[in-house]
Symmetry: none
Subunit: 123 residues, 2 copies
Amino acid sequence: MQIGELAAKTGTTPRALRHYEQAGLITSERAANGYRVYDTGAAVRVRNIRHLLDAGLTLDDVRVFLPCLDGDVTAGPASATALRVAAERLAVMDARIAAQVAVRDRLATVLSQATGTHMRPVA
Amino acid sequence: MQIGELAAKTGTTPRALRHYEQAGLITSERAANGYRVYDTGAAVRVRNIRHLLDAGLTLDDVRVFLPCLDGDVTAGPASATALRVAAERLAVMDARIAAQVAVRDRLATVLSQATGTHMRPVA
DNA sequence: TCCGACCTTGACGCCGGTGTCAAGGTCAAG
DNA sequence: CTTGACCTTGACACCGGCGTCAAGGTCGGA
């Protein structure tokens, strides 16, 4: 499998895949002509990477999870470091969300007082 | 009060304050020598701006809230236009918050699968 | 043989908020 | 007068995750 096909399979782009490789998240064999060649397992790995990135982790964060990323995301005894990183990110996100909800609620309060309309709280 | 003092009072930097001014978030008088001069209310205003930024809003977002930001964050005179704008922003914020909550929950899921520990949902 | 679709590396662009350096003006204290 | 701490504007640097263009090599099919 070469890079374009892997990109299509995983819903990313060749550019992103090269970027992941350069960041040390994936590896590739090289054909005689210099083209990258991936084995079938690469698709799972890339999808896992995407899940973590979509979950708000950085590439550096994801690298920490690599040891337990070769199977499915659901598998693998996560390393202590990996868990710590994830927990930290989670805490940051919770704090940020809470702050935004607070702002949102203040704004909703002002609006409801001014308009008399009830604004439903955040989901 | 000049810029260094305001920065110290609000826990920011002169650079940031100039940036806020250039973004139209704060204003300043000028002394004869060209130095920026702030009145005492500026500190409250800047702290409110910081709160909103820390909540993940952008400078553009913050600008929208300026009309009801001159007193405390909790106060709001709210002109008709301001209300309409505020309602729009509220929808945007709700969408943004929902997206972040979704991301957060994905991360929490990954984490809980890895640890076997149940993480409580976002407040 | 030649086109077009694929691949390669390298490098610059973007967004947002700020750090930081440059090259000065201003002012109070010694 | 000099020093040094403050201020001014302007502009480039940075992070992260790519997009995108450049300039080329490598295929397979008509």
